[in-house]
Symmetry: C2
Amino acid sequence: MAAETQSWVLMATARAPTNIAVIKYWGKRDEALILPINDSISVTLDPDHLSATTTVAVSPSFKQDRMWLNGKEISLSGGRYQNCLREIRKRAGDVEDEKKGIRIKKEDWEKMHLHIASYNNFPTAAGLASSAAGFACLVFTLAKLMNVKEEHGDLSAIARQGSGSACRSMYGGFVKWTMGNDADGSDSIAVQLASNTHWDDLVIIIAVVSSKQKETSSTTGMRESVETSPLLEYRAKTVVPNRVLQMEEAIKSRDFASLARLTCADSNQFHAVCLDTSPPIFYMNDTSHRIISLVERWNRSEGSLQVAYTFDAGPNAVLIAPNRKVAGLLLQRLLFQFPPPPESELASYILGDKSILHEAGLQSRKDVEDLPPPVEIKDKVPSQKFPGDVSYFICTRLGSGPRLLTDENQALISPETGCPK
Amino acid sequence: MAAETQSWVLMATARAPTNIAVIKYWGKRDEALILPINDSISVTLDPDHLSATTTVAVSPSFKQDRMWLNGKEISLSGGRYQNCLREIRKRAGDVEDEKKGIRIKKEDWEKMHLHIASYNNFPTAAGLASSAAGFACLVFTLAKLMNVKEEHGDLSAIARQGSGSACRSMYGGFVKWTMGNDADGSDSIAVQLASNTHWDDLVIIIAVVSSKQKETSSTTGMRESVETSPLLEYRAKTVVPNRVLQMEEAIKSRDFASLARLTCADSNQFHAVCLDTSPPIFYMNDTSHRIISLVERWNRSEGSLQVAYTFDAGPNAVLIAPNRKVAGLLLQRLLFQFPPPPESELASYILGDKSILHEAGLQSRKDVEDLPPPVEIKDKVPSQKFPGDVSYFICTRLGSGPRLLTDENQALISPETGCPK
C-alpha cells in the first residue's frame, strides 16, 4: 500500500441502467438476503434515458465511508448498503495504478474508506425503479475499483442484497432473475436471456402519472402480501413458473403477441395480489386504468396485440411497442387522451427519444390539438381528455448493461477534494 | 275457469329487498341455469330503503305477457324472464277468489297471460343490485298469485335463474347461497342463516359513488374471469370454502371483528380476480380506493376493526358498522372527506335512515363544514376533501325478506285497465 501520508485519490465511475419487469417480482422468502418467491424477467432500458451514474473513490485520507445521492449526503448505515460494501470488500483484489504510483493489496481494502457519489438522470421521485439502477451501479463500480473478478453472476447476487430488482440491472437486454434454492442466496442471481441487439426494434414509452396519493413502498407492500394475500403463494408456485417458460420462448423467437399477452397478464396479476393484500395496496389509479383501457380498446379494435403495458409499484405506465411505426400510433393515442397541460411545451412533455414524435407526425402543440380521435373510439361517446393527468412521457428502447466511464470528466467526485464536484 | 267473456283482473303485489354479498359470488359453472362456482353469503337490506315492488295481474282479457319496469314497458323475451315464468307456471296451483267469483285451475295458468309492473324505490342506474331485488320480487309475486307451494328453497332456485344473486333476496337477514352439486341446479338454492333480528344493531351506509366510466356488466365480467383469470378457480375452490365456514360462525356468534375482516378481504379478493381477468376489469375507482383508505386508516388507528367495507360490480361502497354510535363516527369521517357539493342540502345528500345524522351530531351543512379532521389524520399531510365524488349516501340496516302487500292501493296495476296506474 502506498504510504498513508500520500494524499492520492483513486476512482472509478460507471453507469448502470434501470429495468422494468415483464414477469413481476413480488414477495421475498428471505427478507435479509432478499430472496424472492418466484423467478422474474425484465427488460433493461436504455441508460441514455434512464440510468444511474456512480463514482467510487478511495483514498488514505478518507476517515469514513460516505455517500452522496443526487448531490445530497445520505447515510450508509442501512443494512442494504452495508451488505453490498461488505460483500464486495470480501472479494476485492490487488489494484495497481503505475502511473499514479498507487498500489492497494486485497487485504488493505477492509481498512480503507470510500467516498461514493451517485446521481440518476431521471427524477428519483417519479417511481421509476431508481433503486435498481442505483444499487446495480454501486456494486458494479465498487467491483471495478476493487478489481473484483466476477464469476457466474456473483455481482448480481450482491446487487440483489441492495435492492432485489437491482440484480436484473447488471445485464442489458432481456434478463431473468432465477429465484434459486440455496439458503445463502448464492444461486439467486440474474442471467441474461438475450442482449438488447437481439430484438432492437422494440420501443418503450413511459407515462409518468401524476399522483397525489402516498404510496406503499414495495418492500413493505410485498411483505404484507406474503403475510396476508391468500392468492400470492398460488401465483408464485403455480402461475409464474409457466409464464416464465412462455416468456423465455417469446423472447427467443421475438414473438411480440406472446410477449405482450404475458406482460399485460402478469402486470395485472401482480396488482391483483396487491389488492388481495390486507390492508389492500393500490398502486394504479384512475389514470393508470385509463391507459390500460386505451390499449385494450385499441388491441380489441385491431384484433391483435398492438402494444403491451406493465405497471410497477406506482401509477406509471410502461408501454412496449413492437416497432417505431406502432410506437408513433401509440403516442398519437396517448397524446389525444392526455394532451400536454396548457402551460407546457411538447418538447418538455415528451422526453428521451423525441424522434418518435416525428414518427407520430407531431411537431407542435397545435398538431396534438388537431389530432383526430383514434378510429376505435369514433362514433362512441365523446371521449374525455385528461390534460395534467400525465406529468410527461419518456420515449426509450432496450439498452445495454452497466459500463465503466473512462473519461475522467464524467466522474462525480473531484480527485482533488475527494468530495462531489 | 271463469267465463272468458267476463273481464275480471286478479292481482298480487309484493315487495322484495336487495342484498349485498359479504362473501362474493363471481363465476358461473353453468351460464344457462346460473349455477355458481362457489357458495356466497349476503346480508339483506331494509326494503324500506332499497327494494323492488311488483304487481302481477292475470286476466282472461290479456292477449300476451307484458311487463313494465319503472313505468316503461320492457321485453319479456329474454331467457331470464322466460325461465322464471315457465318454472312458476309449472308449479302453479288452483286459485279461487270467492268474492270476485274467480276460479283458475292449475292447468289453466299455461294458457293465461300476465301483466307485470315493477319499480325500484332507489335509482336503478346507481349500481345497487336492482336485478336481485327485481327478480326476487317477480318470482315471489308470481308464486303468490299462482298459489305455488314452496318447498326447500324451490322459489330461490327459480329466482336464481333470473339473476344469480336474486336467490339471496328471497330471505331476510343473513343468507347463504349454496352452490349445490346437481346438474339441473335443483340444489343451488338460498338458505337463511339468521334473521335480521338476530343481529339488529348493525348499521349499513352506502356511498353511491359518481362514475364516468362505462362499467362491464357483471354477467360479462364473471364470464371473462372464468375464461381468463388464473386466480379465480383457486379462489373458488380453496379460499372461499373456508371463508364461508368462518363467516357462518361469525354471524352465529355476532362476532363483528371476524365479520368485518372476512367481508373486507373477500371484497378485495373479488376485485383482485377482476383485475386478474383479461382484459382486466376495474369496478373500483379512485373514490372507492379513498373510502377504503379512510376505513383502513381508522381501523389501524383504533387497533381494531371499526367498520367493514364491501364493493360489488361498481364503485359504490357498502359500509357496515356494528352499531349506531360507530355509524355516527363513520358518517362524520365520510362527510369530512366527501362533503355535499355546494348546491346540495344535507337532507338530499343523506338518504334512508336520516337519524344517523343525529347520532353524528350533524344537523346542517354548516355542521359538516365545521367537522374537525378525525383524530387519525391529525398532524398528517393536510387531508384532501372531495366534494362531488360521492353522489349521496344511503343509511340503512338489515331487513326482512319478500312480503305480500295486501293493501290494494299499493298495487302498481289498475284493476280496471289491467295496465300500470
